[in-house]
Symmetry: D2
C-alpha cells in the first residue's frame, strides 16, 4: 500500500473502428482506474472533427451516459491521470487536443519525457506558447514545427528528439497511432474488436469489454491503425528493452498480463522468493492490502505460515478527512486500514508490503499492529530498498525523502520500529518477473533512458 506517492503512472486507451468508441474507451479507463484517479478525459473523432470531454476525479463520476452519447465517432482515445498534490489544473488533464497544420490531433501518453524541459525551453525560445505543463504538449509542438509534410514522418522525427519512457496514443481525424518508447518502459497492449482495434495499458481493459488480446506493442514500435488496417513501423534505433519492474510490484492489476507475464503469478513468485530469502519465525503472515495480498499468499505457501487478513481496508476513501483536535492515534493510516484485533493479539506477525517509500506509513502500520497486541512484528518487503527517485513524475519524493537513500536496512528497521526487516534481492526480483532486464533505477540509480547525464535529484513532470 503506497500511501506516499512514488512513481507517476497513468492509463491510456484508444479505439479504432467501433461505433461506440467513446463508450469502449470509457469502460477501458474504468478498468484502468487504479493507474490514475486524479482526472480523466476522452477525445473522439467523427472523421471530421475531434471533440473531447475532461474532468477531475474518477472516470465513473466524470462521464454521464449523456456525455458519452455526445461523444460520437468511431475513433477515440482516453487517459487516466494519476493523483498528484501539485498542479492538478484541468488543463493538464489529457488527451491534449489541438489544431495543428496537419489538422486536429489528440494525444495521450503514459510515461515521461526526460528531456521535456530542455526541449520545451528551446521551443519557447523559438516562440512556442504553452498552455499546460504536460509533456504531451511538448510532443505536439515538435510535430507541429517539424516542417515535415508527412504526418507519420513528422511524428517519428519529433519522437527521435525525445528521451524517456512513454506509451503514446495519438489520434488524427482518421488515424489511431500507438507508440512505445525504444526501452519499452511502460506497457501498451493491442486488442481486436469485432470491427476494429483497441490499444490499452493493461489486458484487464480487454477482459472487461470482451476484446481479444493480440499482442503487446513492441518496444520502439509504432502502429498506425486506419481504414487501411494496421501498419507496424520500427523507426527508432534498437535498444535493450527495460520494462518498469514496478508495474509488476505495484502498479498493474493482478489480473493483468504485462511484459509477457501474468502479474498475479509474478507477485506469487515474489512472495515465495521473499519467504526463502527473508524467513521469520511467526504465527501468522499478514498482507498490507490490497497490493500486498498476492505476494503474501506466496510467502504463506512457501513458508507454511498461515495467512490472515489482519488488516482490513476501507475502500470508501474520500478526499478530505478532518482529524479531530483531540487527536486520534494513527489517524492517517487508520482512515484506510484497521487491524483485526482478534487475529493479531498475542501473535508473532510477519507483515508483507510491496515497498517502503518514506517509511512513515510502515511505521504507523507497525505501531498500530503493536497496539493491537502483536507480540513480534517482522516486516517484509517484496522489493529492494527504494533508494532513487523515479524520473517519471511530478511530486515524487526527491532522494532525501526516500528513507532508503540515506538509511541502511537496520536504520530503517529502527525507524519503522519493527522487530526485523527484510527486503527482496534485486536479482531475484527480475527472475520472479520472468527474467530479462528491467528498469530498476529506483533501486540502483541506473536510469536507462538518460543517455547523457545521470540527472541528479531532480524529479520530472510526466504522465
Amino acid at each position: 500500500m503506497i500511501l506516499d506517492k512514488f512513481h507517476e503512472e497513468c492509463g491510456v486507451a484508444g479505439v479504432f473502428g467501433c461505433k461506440e468508441a467513446a463508450n469502449l474507451v470509457y469502460l477501458s479507463l474504468y478498468s484502468l482506474q487504479h493507474r490514475g484517479q486524479e482526472g480523466a478525459g476522452i477525445a473522439v473523432s467523427d472523421r471530421d472533427k475531434i471533440r473531447y470531454e475532461k474532468g477531475q476525479g474518477l472516470v465513473a463520476d466524470i462521464f454521464s451516459a449523456d456525455k458519452i452519447d455526445a461523444l460520437e465517432g468511431d475513433m477515440a482515445i482516453g487517459h487516466n491521470r494519476y493523483s498528484t498534490a501539485g498542479e492538478s489544473h484541468i488543463r493538464n488533464i489529457q488527451p491534449f487536443c489541438v489544431e495543428i497544420n496537419a489538422g486536429p490531433v489528440a494525444i495521450a501518453h503514459n510515461g515521461n519525457i526526460v528531456n521535456a524541459d530542455e526541449v520545451k525551453r528551446q521551443l519557447v525560445k523559438n516562440g512556442a506558447i504553452f498552455n499546460s505543463s504536460s509533456d504531451s504538449e511538448v510532443i505536439v509542438h515538435l510535430i507541429a514545427k517539424s516542417g515535415i509534410d508527412n504526418l507519420i514522418e513528422s511524428i517519428i522525427a519529433s519522437l527521435r528528439k525525445l528521451q524517456g519512457a512513454y506509451s503514446l496514443l495519438l489520434m488524427t481525424k482518421d488515424m489511431l497511432i500507438g507508440v512505445r518508447d525504444p526501452l519499452g518502459v511502460r506497457p501498451l497492449i493491442l486488442g481486436k474488436l469485432v470491427n476494429g482495434y483497441i490499444l490499452v495499458s493493461e489486458t484487464v481493459a480487454l477482459d472487461l469489454i470482451g476484446a481479444e488480446f493480440i499482442r503487446e506493442i513492441e518496444p520502439g514500435e509504432m502502429v498506425i491503425i486506419s481504414d487501411k488496417g494496421i501498419e507496424s513501423l520500427h523507426p527508432f534505433d534498437k535498444k535493450t528493452p527495460k520494462p518498469c519492474i514496478f508495474e509488476h510490484i505495484y502498479f498493474a492489476r493482478p489480473d493483468s498480463m504485462i511484459f509477457g507475464e501474468n502479474v498475479y503469478d509474478v507477485r506469487k513468485r515474489m512472495g515465495r522468493m521473499l519467504a526463502i530469502q527473508q524467513p521469520a519465525e511467526a504465527d501468522i503472515v499478514v498482507p498490507v492490502p490490497d497490493s500486498g495480498i498476492i505476494a503474501t499468499m506466496g510467502y504463506s505457501e512457501q513458508s507454511g505460515i498461515p495467512l490472515e487478513m489482519g488488516l482490513i481496508r476501507n475502500h470508501y476513501v474520500g478526499r478530505t478527512f478532518i482529524e479531530p483536535s483531540q487527536s486520534i492515534r494513527h489517524f492517517g493510516v487508520k482512515i484506510k486500514l484497521n487491524p483485526v484485533k482478534s487475529v493479531i493479539k498475542g501473535k508473532k506477525v510477519i507483515v508483507v508490503d510491496d515497498s517502503i517509500v518514506r517509511g512513515t506509513t510502515s511505521r504507523k502500520i507497525v505501531k498500530m499492529l503493536r497496539e493491537a497486541g502483536a507480540r513480534e512484528i517482522h516486516f517484509r518487503v517484496c522489493s529492494p530498498p527504494t533508494k532513487f527517485p523515479c524520473f517519471y513524475g511530478i511530486d515524487t519524493p526527491t532522494r532525501k525523502e526516500l528513507i532508503a537513500s540515506s538509511h541502511n536496512v537496520e536504520e530503517i528497521r529502527k525507524f519503522i520500529t519493527a522487530d526485523t526487516l527484510g527486503y527482496l534481492d534485486i536479482n531475484c526480483l527480475e527472475e520472479c518477473a520472468g527474467g530479462g532486464e528491467f528498469c530498476k533505477a529506483c533501486f540502483n540509480g541506473d536510469y536507462p533512458m538518460m543517455s547523457l547525464d545521470g540527472g541528479g535529484d531532480n524529479p520530472k513532470s510526466g504522465c
Copy 2:
C-alpha cells in the same frame, strides 16, 4: 458478494459530550459506510437548537470540512442509508429532525418496524401528516401524540406499540438516547470518549476514532446519556434475543465485534464448517470478494486446498455503466469482478460465496469462470438456502424472486450451471456464530418479531 439487494441495512452513530461531535459522527459513518451508500445525514445539538445536514451518496462526498465545522454542538447523531432502487428522495434520508411538543428531536434508526404501515394508517386517520416514507417518522408521531408529559415515558409507551427490529438513536436538545429492540436483531455498541460517550452500529467505528469499547447495548435496553451520566432502563417485556445471523454472514465488517463475537472468527469457522459439510475435490478454492474472503480462508485451511484470488474486484464502482450495444458477455458482473485466467485455467475450482439470492449473479460468475478455463466449478455457500424475504427493507426481493423459495438445491445448481452446489447447514451456522439463538427467518420463515401474523410475501419499508 450480494449484488442483488436482500436485507436492508443501515449504520448509526451518536456522540454525547464531545466538542467535535459532528466530526466524530462523520468519521463513524465513514467507517460504517459498508452498511449504506445511498445517503447520509448528521444532526447536532448545541443544547439550544438541532441543526442537520443531509445528502445523497457517500459520506466522504456529502460532508465537506466546512459543513462539518458548521455543525457546532457537543451532541450529534448520524445515519448511513442503504442503497435502494426505489424512493431515494432526500426527504427519506435520516436523521429525521422535527419540532414536537417536547422540543426539537432528531431520530435515526437501523432496522424496521413490522407494523409501521398499520400504525401509520391509524395516525393518518387521526390527522397526522407524513413527510417521508421512513419508519422514523412513525416513531416520532407516536411520541408526539402520546399525551405523556415525560419524554422518556412517552418514548417507552410509543416503542411498546411497535413490533420490529431496530437499533434506535434519539437526540433531544440535551439527551442522547439509544434503544435496542427486545429481540436485539440489530447491533448497537456503547463506547467511551475522553469526555463523553458514543453509540455506534459496529466496533470498527470505535477503532477509527480511538474510542474505548464499553459493551453492547442489551436487547430491550434503553440508555439515556445526559449531563447526569448514563442511565440504563429495561422497559420492555423480556424476550429471547434473536440477533440477525446475516450480520455475521455478510453485513458487518470482518474487523468488527458483534453480538459478542469477532466477525472475522465467525466467518473463518463458517468456512471451516462448510469445508467439512460440503467438501469437494478441487485444485483451488476461490473467494467471491470481498465478503467471501475470510470464509474461504477457513475453507482452504480446513480442506488443505490452496486459496487463490481467482476473481479480482474493481473497487472504483460508479453509478452508471452503459453496456455497449454490441453487447459484452457477463457485462453486469464483469464491471465488478474479473477472473485471473492464469489462476483459473485448467483447474477444478471451488467458489465460495456468502449467499445466493436470485441466483443470476452466481450463474454469471460460474459462466465467467468456465470461460476463463475452469475445468470444474463447485459452488459453496456459507449460509443455508435463502428462502424467505427479510421483512427489513424496501425493495428486498419478494419470495418468488428468491431462487431457493421455489427451487431445491439441485435445481439451483442447474440454474447457476455449477458442477456441484453445497450450502452450510442452518444449525451449524448458529454454532459458528457463537451459539445461542439467531433470527434465521430468511432461511426458515420463522419471523420472531411478528407476534401476530406471519405477514406473507410483503416486504416492508425499513432502515
Copy 3:
C-alpha cells in the same frame, strides 16, 4: 426601490386541465418573479400521485427543461418565495406537499396567518409534528386533524380558525382549490386556458401564457376547479374588503391589473397627486428605478418639470459583493444605482421614490446625487410615512427600525439630508388606487385582520 425588506410578498400560480400544466405554472412563476426571488417550487398531479420540484434562487435557474418535462400531469401549482435573510432552508420553500387522510395534497399561499403561532402551539401540544416554519403547514395540519370526512368542509372549517391575509392554492389528486381571505388582502386572479383554468397572483401571468382574464377571485371566495367545472363558494362571514395598498405602490408589476385597477394608471395618479400635494421648484424630476418610474412620469406631467433618468439601475445584481477594504463611497447603493452626472450636475432635483423604510438607502441616494453635483434635492415619496410593521412576513423591520415610527417628517428629512421631503397623503392614496377601503396598517397601525388584539411589535412568519 425598497432595498430594505418591508412586506413579505410571494407569487402563486395554479393550472387545471392542461397537459403542460407544469410548464404553464413555470412560465407564470417566471412572470411573477418580482414577487419573490428566494426560491420556487412546482407540484403536479397526474391524477394519481403528487410530485414536486423545489429549489433556491430564480425560477429560470431552478427548472431545466428536463425537470419541467418530468413533472407530468394536467394539474399543477407553484410558488415564488420572497428573499429573506433568515430561515431560507429549502424545506420552507412551497408548495408544501404531504400525505393526509384524504390523500396527497399540495398547498401554496401568499400572505400570512396572523394567529399561526398560536394555532401551531396548540397543534404541537396535541402531538402535531412540524417540518417547516411555513404557515402552509399549519393549514394542512388543521385540515388533516379536522375530523371532517368531506375535504371541502374540512378546508372551510380549518380556514375559519385562521385570521390573516392569504391567497391560497390547494391541490389534491383531482381538484384545484383557490381561496382568498375574507378581507381580500392579497390578489388572486382567475383565467381561462383552452381546456382548463388558471389561478395566479397577477394578470401579467395571464398575458405571458396567453390566458384569458375571467375575473378576480372575490374576498372570502373559494373556487373549486375539477373535472366537473368551477364551483364557487362563499363560506366565510362577509367583511369589508381591505386589499393591500402596497400592491399598487410597490409589489405588483405596472402592467398588471389588480383589485380592479391598472397598476400603471394608479401609479401615474399617485405621481400626479404627489405633484399637487408636494410641489417643489426644480429643474428636473428623477425616479428611483424601477418602482418609482411610473409615478415620476405622473409627477412630471402634472408639474411640467421634465423627467430625467438621472439614476441608472444595474439589473445584473448577484448575491455577493465584497466591498474592497479601501472602502468605496455609497458602495451598498452604487452596486445597484449609478447617477448620470451630466444630467444631475448643477440641477435642482426632485427625487421620487415609492416609500421610505429605514431611511438609510434614501440617505445614500441623496448623498450620491449631491456628490454628482445636484444643487438642491427635494425628496418626494408616493406613499405616507411607513410607521408600522406589516404583519406579513419574517424579517420585516420591527417598529423601531422604521424611521417614521419614531421620527417626524422634518427629522427624517434631516436624516436623509434632503433639502425638502414630502409624502403623499393617506386619503389621496386610496383615491388614486380607485377608491374603496384598503389595508393601510403600515401607515396608520389599523390591522384589519386582527380581530382580537393589536399585536404589538411582533412581525410574523408569512408567505
Copy 4:
C-alpha cells in the same frame, strides 16, 4: 432592444498597483456586464506567477468571495464575453493566459482582428498550435514568435501586422499594457486609484469603484503601467479615428461617457433629431426598453407627445424557456416584454427602438401592440437602416439576414406591419454623437479597418 445579435461586444478591465486588484476588476466587470453575459475571467499577477479563474455565465455567479480572495496580487485584468450561439466553450473565455519566452502573459481584448484568420493560417503553417478560436491567441502567437527580445517592441511589431478594431489589455508579471487600435473603434478609459491605475471599457466602472477619470486612451496609443509609472507611446501610423457609432446607439450604458460624450446626452439628441426628421401624429410615444428609453425621452420632449412606458420588460430572463406545444402568441418577445393594455388601448402609438436588425422582433412588437389595442403604430428607429454586417464578431447576421440589406424602408414597414416607419439620417447621427467621423460601416458598408479588401459577406471571429 436588440434581440437579434448584431455586433459583438465585450468588456475589459485592468488594475495595477492595488492590493485588491482582483476584487476591483470583478466589480468593474460587474458594472460592464451589459457588454457581455456569456462568460468572464480574471487573471492576476502576484509579481511572480499569473493565475486565473474563468467561468460561463454572469460575473456575479462565476466569482465567489473565496475565488476572488484566492486571486492574490496587485495586478489583474478581466474580460466579459458577449453571449454567442456558437462556440461557447470555456477555453474561448478570456483572459487568455500562457507562458511565452518573455514569461507568463495574460491578454484580454474587446474588438476583432479582421485579418486574424489569415495570420492564424500562416502561423499554423509554421507550426503554431492553437487551443482556442479567440483572436487573443493570434496576438500572443505573434508576440511569442516575433524574435524580438524587448517585449514592448515585440508587442508593437505584432500589432502592426494586424488590421482591425481592438481595445487590448496585456498583463505580464509586472506590467499592465493597454492599447487602442489606430482607428479607436472601441473605447478604453484610464482611471486613477489611490495607489494605482485602472483601464476599463466604460466610465461606469470607474463610478462604481470610486476611481477618478483621467482620460480616454487615444486611438493608436499604447500605455505601459509599471512600478515606474505610466508611459505612453504612439507606435502606429496615424489615422483618422473612427469610433463605433453603435456604442452610443446601443452598447454603452447611458450613464457612461464615451468618445468624449455622455451617452445619455447623445441618446437624448438622437431622439430629438428623430422627432424632427420623422414626426408622426400620435397620442403617445413608447420606448422599447431598456435601450430605447433615453432616446424616446428626447423624442417626447421635442414632439410634445407624452411618453408612456407602454412596454414593460421582465429583467429576470433565464436561459431556457420551453414554449408549450399549445403555442403562445408572440412567445419569443413576450418572455421579455409585456404591453400595458390600459396605456396602449385605442391610442395612436409611436414606438421608438434603437435599431432594426432582422425585423422579426420589431414585427412581433408591432403585432403585440396591435393586439393590445393600438389604433396606429408608427415605428421610429434612432439609427439608419442596418444594411451591412459588422465585421466584429462571431455569429452576427450575414448580409442576407439584415432586412435592410435587401429591402427598402417601405418594404421593411410592410414586413413589420407598422403604419409608418422612419429612420434617423446617417449624417444627423454623427452630429448627435458630438460630430467627428465615426465608423458607420453597418449603415454604409465603408469598413475603415480593412485597408485591402472590402471583405464581402463574411462575419469574423472577434471579441
